[in-house]
Subunit: 252 residues, 2 copies
Amino acid sequence: MSLDNRAGRIPEHNPVADDGDELRFCSTCAFGSVCLPQGVDKTALHELHCLVEHAGPFQAGEHIFRTGEHFGAIFAVRGGTVKTCLVDDDGREQVLGFHLPGEMIGLNAIHPAKYPCDAVSLDTVYVCRFSFPALATLATRMPGVQQQLFRLLSQDIGKASLLAGDHSADERLAAFLVGIADRYAARGFSPTAFRLSMARSDIANYLRLAAETVSRVLRRFQDQGLIAVDGRDVTLTDPAALRHLARNIVHD
Amino acid sequence: MSLDNRAGRIPEHNPVADDGDELRFCSTCAFGSVCLPQGVDKTALHELHCLVEHAGPFQAGEHIFRTGEHFGAIFAVRGGTVKTCLVDDDGREQVLGFHLPGEMIGLNAIHPAKYPCDAVSLDTVYVCRFSFPALATLATRMPGVQQQLFRLLSQDIGKASLLAGDHSADERLAAFLVGIADRYAARGFSPTAFRLSMARSDIANYLRLAAETVSRVLRRFQDQGLIAVDGRDVTLTDPAALRHLARNIVHD
DNA sequence: GCGCGCGCTTGACCTGGATCAGGGCACGAA
DNA sequence: TTCGTGCCCTGATCCAGGTCAAGCGCGCGC
């Protein structure tokens, strides 16, 4: 009942990625290298732009897609943060990942042809929707599109094994923080100061820790001078030390 | 020093997947649906067969590929069992997965263009080698090949998050056993009696448990009548109970 | 303003599984 | 045969992090 509250798409002005931002956004998006002109076939590029639909805003708590829905498209986050998660047989939520602007969601739905998880917006979210059948067809004509898809898919396989290893709470949290920092940095945002748009309990769930442990470790990191925390705003004051803590948790 | 012992490729008769088995093997392989004739373009099919190379036997402990090597191909396991693993900065091994006959390895190497892990044979292993550039080129002409690649990649993303959740030792081991059983079943082998070709310590490492815990849980499962263990040979005597234990750890 | 609820923190305690230590067994080399 | 050596099992102990309980602060609806 509370799932679809505020389901109406309010056509308010988009504060993150409005039309004026489009080119700038696309240049930082995971699909940017194929969406933007780069000497490729002009007509095929036109087709690519045709199959992209902008969607949103989604308000915090709204679903972009749900577990079991027919798979028809992958999405690039244009603005806001998306959480992917699934609910197990005992009703417990399991957070699979957080997706920042420029990142893709839905890639793990190709095989079962159904979305295998929920995608929930954590704040006001805007996305680009890529119809997958159309994209796959286009990929046969544009090797660049195909390659990019292969890359994105392959990348996600590696990422998924990040949270797998048996690492201490300190390592996990350090890796989480530098991971977020790196991803923001890659999109041109500050790599040392950012806002975590997810609740502590989501972070805890994602890292397979208790929310209490997340609190305690963040507090300790702060006491040790590694970070400064103000609610959901975090500043990395000693990124090198955090990176050292996280050294055994790989990213790309 | 002990890494490359018995490195010589003994040209002994292949007991698992010799030429006589080829058709039967291909029909159970992850790539079978594209390797075998199925009404697709005959000349393209011929090209696909041309780009497949058989390799092996690899003896237990030999590497099929190593971390950091240039990515040139993906592999289908024809016979034997392959372990993928990486070694972290502190020299500790981390087992990423086990790959049975019919399964693919190397898919996570596309993005970084280098193999991000080691692939080590656990027993006598035979593989089919698919040159990836050639495969990608072929995929632009054969939508079936492209689709199959997308499916395989997407599937691996899901699998990787299997061992991620915070589950008890019992759940993990139960999921591991029914997972192996299902994968053997899918390839036409017995789903209730099989041999684990990996050491207990590898299983433990893969499941993020101590080897001692694996021993103890297997012993308890045996005492509870769920399984029968004889060294590395395992029989599932109560698959339903195991499946129930593992219910919250998803597979495809 | 006031009360309520939720997100976050902190402290006290408990426990699942890691770690440490030791022993058995099978197999190959000397 | 005897000695390694690798793999596996088992018991005793320990500890990181989970669980439980309580309190705090802030935003929101009334």
